[in-house]
Amino acid sequence: MIVINLDLMLLKRKMSSKELASKVGITDANMSILKTGKAKAIRFSTLEAICRELYCQPGDILEFKE
């Protein structure tokens, strides 16, 4: 399964999820869905925006676990 390590990256960058949501251009509700792992898919554009704002690679956010 794919796990989203967004909390970890937010901690590293000392950024709140609300701040990231506003910078990426998604709602707080959608950010919460993403953080809690309820999301079924993520658009490339959203992933690109998150990586841009957090100065990281997609692999830093997404992780595959057995």
């Binding site: 998604i26 959608n30 950010m31 869905i33 993403l34 309820k38 999301a39 079924k40 898919a41 993520i42 658009r43 959203t46």
Partner: protein, 154 residues
């Protein structure tokens, strides 16, 4: 939007009217059977007519109850559609129950068709309707899954 709402209201009115007819049949069905009995008195034997009346009673009254359940659920579903709540799980449950009601009516009328052959048409129609509703339910279920996936795509 106007025609959409108008069409839904029309469907709701039609459903309500149909429900009134079914309730009337449930309340005054015995009068209809008596009329039927008197009209046919000269053509068939007393025993046959009594058997026919009991067969129809055993089939029509439970059928009416199932019909009322079906129409109530249909009305509720139309109410949801009117409120723009089309692809919700509640509607799936309604469609599933409606489908089963149709199938039960088909079995009931199919059994009664042994004594009264014309009921075969009703049984076939009910079974066909049950299958159609079931297919619609399956389509709706898929649509809900697609919508959920779309909603959870960030």
């Amino acid at each position: 939007m106007y025609s959409y709402k108008k069409s839904t209201i029309l469907s709701m009115v039609a459903t309500a009217l149909f429900m009134v007819v079914v309730i009337c049949l449930l309340c005054f069905g015995h009068i209809l059977f008596k009329m039927y009995y008197i009209d046919f008195r000269g053509f068939s034997s007393e025993a046959y007519l009594k058997e026919l009346a009991s067969t129809l009673s055993a089939c029509v009254y439970p059928g009416c109850v199932l019909g009322i359940v079906t129409l109530t659920l249909l009305f509720k579903m139309l109410l949801n559609i009117y409120k723009q709540k089309v692809f919700i799980k509640e509607n799936i449950i309604y469609l599933r129950v409606i489908s089963w009601c149709c199938i039960i009516v088909a079995i009931l009328t199919g059994y009664c068709a042994i004594s009264y052959i014309p009921l075969t048409v009703v049984a076939a129609s009910a079974a066909f309707m049950g299958i159609i509703v079931r297919v619609v339910k399956n389509v709706m279920q898929t649509a809900i899954a697609l919508r959920e996936e779309n909603d959870l795509t960030i």
